[in-house]
């Protein structure tokens, strides 16, 4: 039996944040029921194919999964439990936004086995939230967080962003201080990235908004790393911090390139030597399922050379880095035999730390990781 991670995409939300380029449709409530039916249909299609896998993690993402009714989430999970082997299930996460949770929803989540709640807080400064198109306030967050703890959820993540328009170093510190007071298990602390075709990217190009200078943005990052470490968090991935033993197991599937499968619109899967992704519009997604086909929009076959490169690229996102023995066991060749020149070069440039057992980024390397990644790509 092989371990498997499952991702479920809920493409609905309250309103589209200015920086968001994920597949999500605000206020399409009339489409939710239909979508769930098709989603269940897709899950069922995989029953045979996934017989030899054992599900370890489930991650419900979006969109805003907590935007839709808790009974939908319950049905989806129930369906997964019914169709796949879940006897060793360890982690079931749902993404939520402040202001979308209530006691009933959370109770349903609990009932259906959700044991990890991720909250898209982003910042506790209401002005900054408004600037990036978030529709909640810091008060919404506190209220929802209290509920979550009341219902005894013991594994909570918050997403925080830095490098926001008009954000000062003080804003950044303040949010971190307030959040860490709450003794939260896991924190994603990531830099705002302008993706193409987002409102924010458009405004930036039109000169309507200004982003933090690179220097300040990095200062925010470095401050966050040090501050969170001081507060007892382990920095275990470029943008992720966790209390001991509470790393996100599902995301580790991605970083360690273990098999995972994505259900729903635009979801990505990684099985054997294939990576593929679903249609990102309802019509094609539904039509495929109506015709009993997998709703797959595109796929990529990963040859050995690419598999090795990806293993390094993803693995190096982890702060502990890539273990040389694991590499050898996986590919039956020493990493030095393949990348000797590159490893020496970046060690000399101070981007990589290398010892007998591990290859990892130095703090400077974490800031400039793409330089190394670009070189690793075949």
């Amino acid at each position: 039996m092989k371990d498997l991670g499952i991702y479920i995409h809920i493409p609905f939300c309250n309103s589209k944040c200015y920086y968001c380029d994920f597949v999500s449709f605000p206020h399409k409530d009339d489409r939710i029921d239909e979508y769930i039916e098709y989603l269940l249909g897709e899950i069922k299609e995989y029953k045979e194919l996934l017989k030899e896998y054992i599900v370890k993690t489930i991650f419900i993402g979006g969109g805003t999964p907590s935007y839709i009714g808790g009974q939908h989430i319950g049905r989806i999970l129930e369906y997964i439990y019914k169709n796949f082997n879940v006897e060793a299930l360890e982690e079931v996460t749902i993404e939520t936004n402040p202001g979308t949770l209530n006691r009933e929803k959370l109770k349903l989540y609990k009932e259906y086995g959700i044991n990890r709640i991720s909250i898209g807080v982003q910042s506790l400064n209401d002005n900054l939230l408004k600037n990036i198109g978030r529709v909640h306030t810091s008060v919404d967050f506190y209220r929802n967080f209290d509920l979550i703890r009341n219902l005894n959820f013991k594994n909570v993540n918050v997403d925080l962003m830095f490098g926001l328009p008009n954000q000062t170093m003080e804003d950044c510190k303040e949010t971190l201080e307030k959040i860490t007071k709450l003794d939260i298990e896991h924190i994603s602390y990531y830099s705002l990235i302008l993706e193409e075709n987002t409102l924010m990217d458009k405004w930036y190009k039109e000169g309507k908004i200004r982003l933090a200078e690179e220097e300040m943005e990095r200062d925010m990052y470095h401050f966050g790393i040090n501050f969170l470490k001081d507060q007892g968090y382990k920095h275990y991935e470029i943008s992720n911090f966790a209390k001991d033993g509470l790393e996100c197991k599902h995301n580790l599937f991605y970083w360690q390139l273990k098999p995972y499968i994505g259900f729903g619109l635009a979801a990505h899967s990684n099985l054997k030597d294939k990576r593929y992704w679903n249609y990102s519009n309802f019509k094609d997604y539904y039509n495929s399922l109506d015709e009993n086909r997998f709703p797959i929009d595109g796929e990529e076959t990963i040859n050995r050379e690419m598999a090795i490169a990806e293993y390094l690229i993803m693995g190096l996102r982890l702060i502990e880095g890539v273990n040389k023995n694991d590499f050898f066991n996986r590919f039956k060749i020493k990493v030095e035999d393949l990348y000797e020149e590159l490893l020496i070069k970046y060690k000399e440039q101070g981007l990589l730390y290398i010892d007998d057992e591990w290859i990892r980024f130095t703090p400077k390397g974490l800031d400039l990781s793409n330089i190394v990644y670009v070189d690793i790509l075949p």
Binding site: Y7, H9, F22, G61, S188, Y190, S191, L192, I193, E214, E215, E217, R218, I238, S239, F253, Y254, W255, L257, Y260, G262, A267, H268, S269, N270, R275, W277, E300, E310, I313, M314, R317, Q349, L366, D367, L368, S369, N370, I371, Y373, V374, L377
Partner: protein, 603 residues
């Protein structure tokens, strides 16, 4: 296809300023003579190169054969030979004109005569062509045909009273143009029984047929099976096909004196069918080749280098292929410390240079790097030797130079009187010497300036257009050399001299140019792990300095939902960009940076 009798052939070209409607008229003539139905017509048939369409200009001349039944009841063959319209391409115009007996002169009824039109009219008059004026765009409300007629008579000195008033765009009065061609332009002369004498006015390389040469037969007959000789090289070939171009190429039995068509003769090496050469019968040669072609003189030089060293041979092959279509392009191998092996190329002007660069990239899919353009300077050394320098790198040390000379052009700038001040200011900025100003009419003048060519090649044409809202036009020709105080401006990147950026510049302009180049390079060079200083220096004196700050961040913050494919695409894009960079010492310089030195910053 039938051969027509010589008296029913008309060979003509069209002379017009850019935008005056030459291509549109050509389209209408083609349409009117029924070569293509209007549904089949693509806009602007003759400008079939993408680049030409985009820029709205004709670069490579082409020809097309039209059949027309005139009002006198006779069937005529009208050979239209298209000409380019930009100041850089005078040579191509002269080739085209030499194959004709007449030319249509198109004048925009709203704009009147432009400098470029005049220059081409003079070229046509030099070839003794019959000039047939046509007044276009009379559908526009601001058309003033009577004034324009008078202008043609006053300025050019040709009869314009009967000039057809047309609108090529609206298809108005096109038949009148066809009648004028038949009635005004003389039929070709030339003895069919004499030894073959044919002029190559254009050619291109076809991967199946070899070189296809467009020709005008002046005397004799040309047909398949004949042995022909290129008179400049004395090489000979057997003719495999002759033909004419209607909507597409098609073979004919033979081409006779007066005809325009093409010849294929298994010519493998493009250098053996030079444009301008005379073709004759190898077994019965003519005594003397045709004359009348201007010798090509490149005015602007630059280095063209493959972005990746291994492409050197591909660049050479591509340049050779372009050269067969473009006799004005010259090149020879050279080496640069910064860029490795490449070519020094000579062009008619800056536009010509840009077109060649773009064609190399688009048609041959090559990544190239271009160095700053230069003109040919004359350098008198201390030892009394006169050197010609077209690559700044080869300039001797200043202590070895007695004096230097730079090429000066006589420029004619035609402009509405409103912009006289703006034009004067521009010319003064560019070290021009005012000669005189003539009034063509109350509101239009032609200004004569002597300008250093090295000032003209740096976006002078663009600057002129922008200062006159596009109304001014420019023509220039080489006047000669004058002594000048010139210095070599070098650029150091991270302390290393990059020869590809060196330019020769007037002493008074050096500071400004140095600062502007350093600023532009600062914007073009990406941030590295270390700070990269950029310095502009003359000799050992630093005149400008900029710094590209060190890179602090190059990271993909989040990898969400397992979408590794997309993250990888971003990295691949970055890798692709890196490939397009040149490594200079430890600094990666994008190709765009090499263009930074081309532009003056005049804001």
């Amino acid at each position: 296809m039938q051969n027509v009798k010589q008296t029913n052939i008309r060979n003509f070209s069209i002379i017009a300023h850019i935008d005056h409607g030459k291509s549109t008229l050509a389209d209408r003539l083609i349409e009117k003579t029924g070569l293509l139905t209007s549904r089949e017509m693509q806009d602007q048939i003759l400008d079939s190169m993408d680049l030409e369409r985009e820029r709205g200009i004709t670069i490579k001349l082409k020809n097309v054969r039209l059949n027309y039944k005139a009002k006198d009841g006779e069937e005529y063959v009208l050979n239209l030979i298209d000409t380019p319209g930009h100041v850089d391409f005078n040579y191509e115009v002269s080739r085209s004109l030499a194959a004709c007996e007449g030319a249509l002169l198109i004048i925009d009824a709203t704009q009147g005569i432009e400098a470029q039109t005049l220059a081409n009219v003079y070229l046509a008059l030099e070839q003794d062509l019959e000039i047939v004026p046509i007044i276009n765009k009379i559908d526009l409300p601001s058309a003033r045909p009577e004034e324009v007629k008078k202008e043609i008579e006053d300025v050019i000195g040709i009869e314009a009273e009967e000039a057809p008033l047309i609108s090529a765009k609206e298809g108005l009065n096109i038949e009148a143009v066809l009648e004028e061609i038949v009635n005004k332009i003389p039929a070709p002369k030339g003895e069919k029984k004499a030894p073959l004498k044919a002029l190559i006015f254009d050619s291109y390389y076809d991967s199946y047929k070899g070189v296809v040469a467009y020709i005008r037969v002046f005397e004799g007959v040309l047909k398949p099976g004949m042995e022909i000789r290129m008179m400049s090289s004395n090489k000979h070939y057997e003719v495999t096909e002759v033909g004419v171009t209607t909507s597409k190429q098609g073979p004919v039995d033979q081409l006779e004196a007066g005809d325009v068509g093409y010849v294929v003769a298994s010519i493998k090496n493009v250098k053996d069918a030079r444009v301008g050469d005379t073709i004759t019968d190898h077994n019965n040669p003519t005594d003397s080749p045709l004359s009348g072609y201007k010798k090509v003189v490149p005015m602007v030089y630059c280095g063209i280098y493959p972005a990746e060293g291994e492409d050197f041979n591909s660049v050479r092959d591509a340049l050779e292929k372009l050269q067969v279509n473009d006799a004005s392009l010259i090149f020879e191998p050279e080496t640069s410390a910064a860029l490795g092996f490449g070519f020094r190329c000579g062009f008619l002007g800056l536009l010509h240079m840009e077109i060649i660069q773009e064609r190399l990239e688009r048609e041959f899919d090559l990544n190239i790097v271009t160095t700053a353009p230069s003109v040919i300077y004359k350098v008198m050394t201390e030892s009394g030797e006169m050197l010609s320098i077209q690559n700044p790198t080869n300039l001797p040390h200043e202590t070895e130079i007695e004096y230097m000379e730079e090429p000066i052009v006589s420029a004619s700038i035609m402009t509405p009187t409103d912009y006289v001040g703006a034009v004067m200011e521009l010319c003064q900025n560019r070290r021009g010497t005012f000669i005189n100003m003539e009034y063509l009419e109350e509101t239009r003048v032609v200004m004569h300036y002597d300008l250093p060519l090295n000032e003209v090649i740096y976006d002078f044409f663009d600057a002129l257009k922008s200062r006159t809202r596009g109304y001014a036009s420019l023509d220039y020709e080489l006047k000669g050399y004058e002594e000048s105080e010139l210095v070599k401006l070098d650029i150091l990147i991270n302390g290393e001299l990059v020869d590809a950026f060196s330019i020769i510049v007037h002493k008074d302009k050096a500071y400004e140019r140095g600062r502007s180049i350093a600023e532009r390079l600062k914007d073009e060079i990406p941030r590295h792990q270390f700070a990269v200083p950029i310095q502009a220096v003359i000799g050992s004196k630093i005149i400008a300095r900029e710094t590209v700050r060190a890179l602090r961040k190059d990271v993909l913050a989040k990898c969400y939902g397992g979408d590794i494919t997309r993250k990888k695409k971003l990295l691949e894009k970055q890798k692709e960009g890196k490939k397009r960079m040149r490594q200079i010492g430890s600094v990666e310089v994008p190709q765009e940076a090499f263009l930074a030195v081309l532009k003056y910053d005049e804001k």
